[in-house]
Every structure is written in C-alpha cells, then in structure tokens.
Amino acid sequence: MRRPRMPEPVEPGEVLAEAAGADVVRGPRQVLHGVDLTVAAGEVVAVVGPNGAGKSTTVGLLSGDLGATAGTVTVFGRPVRRWRPADLAVRRGVLPQHTTVAFPFTVAEVVAMGRAPWAGTPLAADDEAAVAEAMAATEVTGFAERTFGTLSGGERARVALARVLAQRTPLLLLDEPTAALDLRHQDLVMRVAVAHARAGGAVLAVLHDLNLAAAHADRIAVIAGGRVAACGQPARVLTPELLTGVYQREIEVIEHPRTGAPLVLP
C-alpha cells in the first residue's frame, strides 16, 4: 500500500465534512434530495430518521462510497471523491452498519487492521498502543484471541467500532454504532464518541434511539424522505410537531427531570 500524506492538525470548530445541496440517485430512485450537512471538529452530530429515509446513504455520501449526482461533498477541504484512498484513510474512519469477516481472523487481528493506513509512517510506532486503547475503550480486550465469527452480535459491533477507533482519525462516520447493543454498551459507545469529539475530533453517528441522540449529540439532523427535515441542537430539533410529522405517529417530548435533555415518548 502507498504511504499516505500525513494529515494536517485540525483546528477546533473546523468543518471536516460537508455536504451541500447533494442529490444521490441509486438505480431508478433518487434517495437524497439537496442534503446540506456539516460535521465540525469538536462535535457529535447524530443523524436520525425513519427506516429508508436515507441515513445510511448520507454516510455513504460523506465517506465517498456514493457519488453525488448534484451538489458537492467536501472532506478536509477537498471533494471527497478526489482523495486517494490511502490519504483519506488517515483522516476519516467509517463504521459500516454490518461487519462481516471472510476468514477466521481473531478479534485482535481485526482491530489491528485499523492500523493498516499508518503502515510506513512514523505513527506506525503507536500501533500497539492504539489497538490496546481501542479495545479497552470498547471493552473487547477480554476476547482478543477469539475469532470474529464466534462472537455475539453485540460483541461484533464493539469489535468493529474498536477497529475504527484504532485507526485514530479526526473524523468518524458511524452507521448505527449502537444498533446491536444493550443499554450499558449503548451508553459506553456514545461516551466514546463524545470523548472523541471533546478531544478535538468530529463524529457523525446514525442512531435510531432518539433519546440516546438527545443525551449525547451536540446537534441532531433529522432525515425524512431523503431530505434534512431539521438540523440543530437537540432541544430545538426534537419537537412533538416535527417528530409526529416525520414518524407519522403521535409523539410527545418532555424534559428530562434531572439533565434537562429532551425525552421522547412514543
């Protein structure tokens, strides 16, 4: 693999990923319409919305997997599709919705794959520390030597996240990082995401649980029918009127008695 061009230091508040007026067409169907979305250093942006609204497509758009048929997608100040894979891999990590591993690799080997982009750079010296730290943060150290295929769904999800964290990139794009997890591990993963943002990184995470989004995200983007229906601070976005319209069922929002965060009651 080619050596990457090392990433420049990230300024606080710098926009690391931006979609502007982006359309995406898949097959005969237009799945995104004029999406405007930014993710800046220091913040966690949650993407929420009903099934099929275009959340995963948004992640695919920002990661460069899908091309925009109109509008622009920029990461680190350059159109995402103009980056060389090797250079992009030291700047942003992507957690796919499902992770499968074709051969019986161990958990430790899978997490270590996250270090591949740094091979041949001075930061390759951090490989061991990065892998150990990522495994500790996601609580997978205990089954480091087991093969990926023998793990439960929730364990796999955390190992997959550990692989992305070990990559140590400023920008993280996470597609449903909490989907297969129990309450405790959902909270663990969101705290990891918040810690990454507080340390100067940027996180975009697709979430299904609106309360999880409200509790941890700095901003929430509600996507419905391939459009950004609302985007902003949780308390501004999570309103009964908007959610009732988007999810097409009666939804109430109250204030959390202790934290003051919005609580969504379906």
Binding site: M1, R2, P4, S63, D65, R84, P85, A86, D87, L88, A89, V90, R92, G93, V94, P96, T99, T100, V101, A102, F103, P104, F105, T106, E109, V110, M113, G114, A116, P117, A119, E145, R146, T147, G149, T150, R163, Q167
Partner: protein
C-alpha cells in the same frame, strides 16, 4: 457439524515456515534419489553441489547416476516445486479476493482456461516466443478465464459459494468443450499431449520447461507477496478495505494478473493438477490462522512439498509405470472439497 473452538491455538509463522522448508528440502533430496535408478541422499547432495561448482560430498556411485539426476530427476523435482508453489499460492490468492475458502484454480475453471491456451498453441503448431510460447499461451488463457470468472461470479463485493461453484461448472464445461475440439482437430502426437495434459503429469519436465515457467512463476509469487496485507483488509469487505486506504480496483487487477501468471506456470508443462490450491491453503489456515503474509508464504512451501511428494508417489507406487499426478491429487482433493462444501453449508444453515 464441527464446532470451532472459541480460542484457537495457533502456530506462529516462523516455526511453521522453517518446519515446511526443512521438510521440503528433505523431500526434494529423497525424491531426486528415488526411482528406477536409486541414488542415496548424500550422493544426491554431492552431485548437486558439484554441479553448482562446489566440490563437496560424494558423487553418485552408479555410472549413470550423475547423468540421470541432472537430465531427468532435478528438472522434474524442480518443476514439481514450482508447480506446487504456484498452484497453492494461486488458490490462496483466489480465496482471498473472492472472500471464499472454496475458490480454487481447477474448481473455478482457471486451470482449464490455461490448458485451453496451452493446447491451442500446441495444436496450431505456432511458437512465436520459442520456448516461452506454451507458458505464455497458458498465462493468457488463465488471464482470460480469471477475468471471466471474476466478473461472472461476483455481486455486491462478495461471492456466494453457490454462484462461485456454478460459475466454475459453466467455465469448466466450456473450456473442456474447446479442449475436446482441439483434441479432435489435433494430429496424433498433439492429441497424445493433450490427453496427458488433462490427466496432469510432470513427465514432460525438462530444463527448458523449467526455464520457461520460472520467470512467470517468480513474477506471480512477487505479486502475491506485495498484496498479502491488502488481502487481509479485503476480508472485511470491499467498502471497509477502501476506507482503510486500499485501492480495491488496483488490488483486484494485481490479483487477477498474479493468479493468471501462477496458474499459467502451473499448467503449462504439468497439465491440470487439481485441488492443491484448495487443500494446502486450508490446512495452513487451520494451523497458522488466515493472515495472508504467513498464509501465502507457507502455502508456497506446503504446495511444493505436497506436489514433490505426490509426484514421488505417482512414479514409484507401481513398478515400471507412472500414475497420472492429477489423478492422485483429485482422488485426495475431491473428497476434501466435498467435506469443505458440507461444512460450509452446515455453518450457513443451507444454501441461500
């Protein structure tokens, strides 16, 4: 249904590689000394060292010993090493790029495609590259078939077992149809050669054959070494591999060319020797795990070891006769393939 142990005890790379290398050297010396004219191992080594200009060890005591070794045995054993290494590494690479442990040059039809190339120049009687003609034609035949299999068998970044095996059946059927036509069209001498090809044999090993395939084989093995780390990442799927910096298109192209070079080298003078590329990488994975660095290196050594041993058996099992090598590997590899197929099915809970 077999149960995979939750924690695998794996042999780390180096002991396995050293063990295989030692076994391979011992087996090549033994194989070179065995046959109608038996030469003891120390005399085999002595002859080899003298031939390389080192005056060490005893020369063969039989008057024809030295001659037999250099004219027949050494080329044959060396070709067995090259062919075995090529086929096993080609199998491991195909499995890596398809993300499927059942991919194998003979099963998916790449070997028969290479054989079509080799047979075609034989029947047409052309020799545009002299000594290299057959090897080059086998490479081109292998390249075309690898591309076809690759394009037909994949969808959405993965290849299902059923699609891959059925594609292999179709490609093999077509290739054997072409070979049948070439057999029909050939003169008696070429016809005999084609039949020998389909059975697989190292009987035609000569120094010239060795010289023709070695450059292709070495190029293929170098490509294999350069893609090893990227094949590990490809186990995560194409998207994640790309996110980790792999230029997936480029990787695919490299693997396809590498596989064609290796299979072309394997088939050009030895014919279709099946299942080496299936059995060897699978056993290595069971011993040392799936990481491609060790897997590819150990497969090269293991494939060479298996083929040298199988060829020794083929030419010494029956007095004054030689069994076809491809027959032997198929008799072992066929049931093994079936076992692997059954196991894959029980793990997936039936075919999709």
């Amino acid at each position: 249904m077999s149960v995979t142990p939750a924690v695998r005890r794996r042999v780390t790379g180096w002991p396995l590689l050293v063990g295989l290398a030692v076994a391979l050297v011992a087996m090549t010396v033994l194989a070179a000394g065995s046959g109608q004219l038996a030469v003891p191992p120390d005399e085999v080594l002595g002859s080899l060292l003298h031939g390389l200009g080192i005056d060490l060890g005893p020369m063969p005591s039989h008057p024809q010993g030295d001659n037999a070794l250099w004219a027949v045995r050494f080329p044959r054993v060396a070709l067995a090493v090259v062919v075995g290494a090529c086929l096993a590494v080609a199998g491991a690479m195909l499995q890596g790029v398809f993300g499927n442990p059942l991919a194998e040059p003979a099963v998916v039809g790449v070997s028969s495609g290479a054989a079509v190339g080799a047979c075609a120049v034989l029947v047409a009687g052309v020799s545009f590259l002299g000594n290299f003609t057959v090897a080059a034609a086998a490479f081109l035949g292998g390249l075309a078939t690898t591309l076809v299999v690759y394009l037909l068998a994949r969808s959405g970044g993965r290849t299902e077992v059923v699609t891959l095996v059925l594609t292999g059946i179709a490609v093999n059927a077509f290739a054997f149809g072409v070979i049948a036509f070439l057999t029909f069209a050939a003169d008696p001498q070429a016809r005999e050669q084609i039949v020998f090809w389909q059975l697989g044999s190292l009987n035609g090993a000569t120094g010239q054959a060795l010289a023709a395939v070695t450059p292709l084989a070495v190029t293929g093995l170098v490509i294999a070494a350069t893609v090893a780390r990227r094949l590990d990442l490809l186990a995560l799927g194409e998207g994640p591999a790309r996110h980790l910096g792999v230029d997936v298109e480029r990787l695919r192209l490299l693997v396809v060319v590498g596989v064609a070079l290796l299979v072309g080298s394997g088939v050009a003078f030895a014919g279709i020797v099946g299942f080496v590329g299936l059995v060897v990488p699978h056993l290595i994975r069971m011993i040392a795990g799936p990481a491609h660095g060790v897997l590819l290196a150990a497969s090269a050594l293991g494939g060479a070891l298996v083929l040298v041993s199988a060829d020794l058996l083929a030419r010494t099992a029956i007095e004054n006769a030689e069994l076809p090598l491809g027959m032997l590997t198929s008799l072992v590899g066929g049931p093994f393939f079936f076992w692997l197929l059954r196991r894959t099915r029980s793990r997936q809970g039936g075919w999709a």
